[in-house]
Subunit: 256 residues, 2 copies
Amino acid sequence: MASSEKPTGPGSSRHAAPGGEAATRSVPAARDRPSPPPNNRLPARERAYHDLKYRILEGRLPPGTSLLETEVANLLSMSRTPVREALIKLEEEGLVDVRPRHGITVRALSSEELEEICEVFSTLEVKAAQLLARRGLSDEEYARLDNLLNQMERATQKPDIDRWSQLDNTFHSEIVALCGNARLQSMLRQLWDQQYRVRTAIAPLRPLPVDSDKEHRAILDAIRKGDEAEAARCHQFHRERADREALALLRNPRSA
Amino acid sequence: MASSEKPTGPGSSRHAAPGGEAATRSVPAARDRPSPPPNNRLPARERAYHDLKYRILEGRLPPGTSLLETEVANLLSMSRTPVREALIKLEEEGLVDVRPRHGITVRALSSEELEEICEVFSTLEVKAAQLLARRGLSDEEYARLDNLLNQMERATQKPDIDRWSQLDNTFHSEIVALCGNARLQSMLRQLWDQQYRVRTAIAPLRPLPVDSDKEHRAILDAIRKGDEAEAARCHQFHRERADREALALLRNPRSA
DNA sequence: CGAAATTCTTATGTATACATTGCCGCCACA
DNA sequence: TGTGGCGGCAATGTATACATAAGAATTTCG
């Protein structure tokens, strides 16, 4: 629920950056690589928030890093006040721990916590697929998703895992974005951020995603047919398999 | 007006997590009436946070109320700094809107938003029941839940709707607390707070909860048996019926 | 030598002063 | 009468000064 991107705000059109990219896509591709902090004339608090979040997600402030408020303020060349305010948000979002006399610490997820997050994440994403099946897809939307899957299959064949991962993120986040429940979307977004580092860490280690490609097809077909139960089942199957795979990769530290 | 706090004893927050660092965040005896702000020697920011949250949930700051930072600071007899920090958290939790030159506004949920929240809430609560069925219940835990249901049935017969509602909250929050997923629990807690005013508003209007009593039994039985699918199905059925009822009550403004 | 108390350091919590900037109303002009 | 610009106001954003209290270090007493 980052206040910088209000999910539903009825009249909440924040003074958008003069970049003017918002109007092209109806839905800002929710989940993807973290965007670099906007250098615009944003208030310092926002700069601090985005900048810190970016550094954390990118791993430039790795888990366990611990800094004093003053150090962060110096790092960002501003006073402690906006830094504190940004840190409150980051803490609320679960990205940092604030321990009153020991500075702030970039949160490291234990594998239990990661599992908990995965569980919630999957539950909600499955729900999104189900809702989308209920809501239905326009031809245009279907074409877009179909196109994504085609690209992914091509990426699998090359193979270009990096590109595939990116498309995969897009596919999943599109489904969530289209499902029509903004709250669901924003909660997933937050959980995504919390997992981000881990996911990117294991992405290159994954086996060729042929299974995923097939499962994605099944999900899209079920959604297209408007078969809620089937969509939920397919998506759940997909998530469970993928999460099992991911958690296994994490436990086997073959990453080094 | 029996506002007897602490319905759950000190033994209820038994998290058998292997990691010893479970003390990251206090486990606020799940879901219940909002507790009055602790007058202890808490930092001002915390006082502001709890105090405002309490007032909002209790309806003493009704939706739509709008105040300037300075006004809030005066109201709470402290400077703007801790107030701002508290407001950031409240905004992040979706309880207030902060519009840069117009002060803060206590958030009013549209019925669409409420529906969205319900959807997410139900999804997660059903998951909690499923997880709990998987994890299993100790005899002591079962006895406690069983006891709750007995009390509820008695409350239904009297009838004492107020007490029933309170027990109902306890039952549901116990299930969530026992399910073992702390993240799930905290997200549900937050969604609960967002719905709180609405729920309490319609609670007295509901018909006699005989259906709910039966459904609760079915849920508890399924959990006891360790039948995940059945537990999920029962809980989902329960939630869907209850939510439908609640949303219908809301649309018919017989409340006046 | 060890433990406890006391002082000392310093990070944080809070207040306040100051800068900034959006907003409102007023007035000139068409 | 409607519109657009301008000036003043006042609320917020930010910096900084100060109070407080948690740890750390040191010293003293057993």
